[in-house]
Symmetry: C2
Subunit: 478 residues, 2 copies
């Protein structure tokens, strides 16, 4: 099923070192937590990306901080690489072992340890499913905004490691904005507690922020303190259809220029609408673009906002239709269609690769134009949807035959270059992992890459924690 | 005027090394940018804190990135320490040179390079005065929320270095939330550009976040890209008086539990109100506490919010009075009184030391009780005001005679210990600087402190950039 082979220059551990590590692990953790069955090695050797790594030697099912620290101590002692993993739903291969060794699975650490209404915070273990946290805090009148598409299966530990986003990021920001503090286990077994239980706090360096989004390469989280906000009392959803995706992008520009701050501002292009229609959802056949917009706020505050939103959408006369969801059920159906996009579009071709580039919002139309040009030049089928409010678009390339692979690679390379040329960034929420590592130098200077590799060495001098990620081959941190 | 002597274990540069550095600097930058006059050395040897350092050997007035990089290259070559400085309004001695050497002043780099309405961002030099940025972006319908009390004199470079806050942080967060990208010059003269021009972006480690709040110890900013938000269309200010500060803290709790998110939620205790009365402001003589609350939002959205706010304030029947400002002029007067607090309370005694501890909001009453106990135990006069919504209080200790100094030190130590015991943090917005460095181990483990010192060495192996800051004596990073 995988189509990309990740082959960074990483050291494969010697067999006898692995054997000695396994003996130590079983002695320390008990045999039930160390799984070397073929099924486990296959299951934990992949994630939801196209990355193919190297089959691990063992999977450790951690049940607490001490288990994590023990694995990191034993692995360092024997020189065996460790690939940490929570939900395994990543899209860039962050949880795929590329040098064998140990997969350190934290999904069994799934306790919500505290929900505190007065201090507006939650303390959780890394294996808590994001949707479970949503439900638990909303039941108590609070709100945890980050909502990656995989929220029903992804876990907070992975969300923090990848700095996950989601549609609501336009108003509320990404995971980073919600991590107050961390308990992190470092390679070798050291444990540090970083951050605070307060919103403000400038004591020392912001080590918490450095760990968020570090893709499992700096430390493994055993406990996460998250900021919550009050649950919005009302939500309204508006849908607008356009004949041209550029008109939709133009409406996005007008909404933002008008000072409106919807919590979501989602764009779908014509190919994407086609995939939605194939799922049985009725969409005006003239429509070549859709905006799905959601606003939230206090009780009784939304009417004037929805009115201004309607004005911004219809201004210019290019909208085919603008409708507000009449009730919660209708709203849920609209969002279900949005969340089904990734699996639905997957059916359009044998292979699909979803990029998540970001450009400054003012360059959205330029990016869409550029994507069309890349499609024409390379002959690669593509569709685009995503978080238009953030300038964060999921550009999907589709193909059916392995022989098309070189054209796909050209298309990806061209997209990455166009993104950087437009002042954008390679990844908005999926991370770099192994799949985008080769493109890092397009965006970042060799000075900045070298500086980050020096930071990596502070946390993991032997380069054994999640090797082969983020940094391109030839820039290997170890 | 200073009362505390900062004497960390830092290396004083040899005279001949300084002389050689000065020759190189004059040759490279021209003599007009290198000031060794006695007036300059005195002026730039202090900031607005009580810290007394060691008179610098020269002040360099940087006029651009290349000047900054040149200073950092020449200083490292000759082993001369550098203390970077923007507005010099810090409260913990961050800009006070403690080992002599060069003060690198960036206030002349005061250009706003770009204000971009579509992308909601601004690009500025470090010497832009915060209030000037406010005025410039508000004139174009946008808003830069961080508003430290010194906003008319402090500068963005210092705001970023200290991760400055201000009253509006309750709703909008602190400076960290608004820094998208940085151009930073590192010791030795390397220049790195970090971050992005987009809100989302997870490419590599968040080096930007690591630099924000690093108190000038990791790098010197030559250009700063800031996120803006749409300017709120309406603002309403409400003032409530109470006979007991604990009733005010309880009202804060009710406001937050009710799901309200004011942009400011400021508390003043009885002693503080006394100082305000002395400034000629009429305040009900029974009042021993005041809350100053501000809400903002879209046009026509505030009425229901102000109504709920009024209910939360009057519930329980402990409020003496609740009034809403009737117009902008009345609002401005209320805030002028708040902003005058720091200078007004300074007049109550010869010496004043303002701490800025933070506790989880639920512990606000506990902290206020603890402050009273510390006052009784040590006999030290004190007053408290600050950002109650964030749990961030400015506890001010006042005294008139040098002989009281040991009691003051006992009071500060007790406050720091109480704060940490209540789950809080030593500093909400002033930073650690030299004045709080000794207390760092109260809050942070030796493992975390050592990790941060290792990070410091990545940026500044020779320990010459702003030495003596953050880390306590005996924990020296160099």
């Amino acid at each position: 099923m995988g189509v990309l082979v990740a082959a960074p220059e990483v050291r494969i551990p010697a067999r006898d070192a692995v054997e000695r590590a396994l003996v130590d692990l079983e002695r320390r953790l008990g045999p039930s937590k160390v799984d070397t069955s073929e099924t486990a090695l296959l299951n934990y050797g992949q994630d939801e990306s196209e990355a193919i790594g190297r089959k691990p030697d063992a999977v450790v099912l951690a049940d607490g901080r001490d288990d994590i620290a023990a694995v990191l101590a034993i692995a360092e002692k024997h020189g065996v690489p460790v690939t940490p993993r929570a939900g395994g739903t990543g899209r860039t291969g962050g949880a795929v072992p590329v040098a064998g060794g140990i997969v350190l699975a934290t999904h069994a650490m799934s306790k919500i340890l505290e929900i505190n209404r007065q201090d507006l915070l939650a303390v959780v273990q890394p294996g808590v499913v994001t949707a479970d946290l949503h439900a638990a805090v909303e039941a108590e009148g609070m709100f945890y905004p980050p909502d990656p598409n995989s929220l029903k299966t992804c876990m907070i530990g992975g969300n923090v490691a990848e700095n996950a986003g989601g549609p609501r990021a336009f108003k509320y920001g990404v995971t980073r904005e919600y991590v107050l503090g961390l308990e992190a286990c470092l390679m070798g077994g050291r444990v540090v507690r970083t951050g605070k239980r307060t919103i403000k706090g400038v004591t020392g360096y912001d080590v918490t922020a450095l760990l968020v989004g570090s893709e499992g390469t700096l430390g493994v989280f055993s406990e996460i303190t998250l900021k919550l906000v009050p649950r919005p009392q009302e939500v309204a959803t508006v849908l607008a259809l356009f004949e041209d995706v550029r008109d939709a992008a133009d409406a996005v520009r007008r909404i933002i220029a008008g000072g409106l701050v919807p919590r979501c501002l989602e764009l779908m292009d014509g190919m994407t609408l086609g995939a939605i229609r194939k799922q049985g959802v009725a969409v005006d056949p003239r429509a070549q673009a859709m905006l799905l917009i959601e606003v939230d706020g206090g009780a009784g505050t939304l009417d004037p906002i929805v009115e201004r939103l309607g004005e911004a959408l219809t201004e210019g006369g290019h909208a085919l239709d603008v409708v507000a969801a009449q009730d919660a059920a209708q709203r849920a159906r609209l969002w279900e269609a949005r969340r089904m996009l990734s699996p639905a579009t997957r059916k359009l071709a044998k292979y699909k690769l979803s990029e998540d580039v970001v450009v400054p919002r003012s360059r959205l139309v330029d990016l869409l134009t550029e994507v069309d040009r890349i499609g024409e030049r390379t002959g690669v089928m593509h569709l685009t949807y995503g978080h238009a409010g953030d300038g964060n678009l999921h550009v999907n390339f589709l193909w059916n035959d392995d022989s098309e692979r070189p054209a796909i690679d050209r298309a990806i390379g061209a997209l990455m270059r166009a993104t950087v040329d437009l002042g954008g960034t390679l990844s908005g929420e999926h991370g770099i992992g192994v799949l985008k590592a080769a493109y890092l130098p397009l965006e970042q200077s060799s000075e900045l890459i070298a500086l980050q590799q020096d930071l990596k060495r502070v946390f993991d001098p032997s380069g054994l924690l999640n090797p082969g990620k983020i940094f391109p081959t030839g820039h290997a941190a170890c």
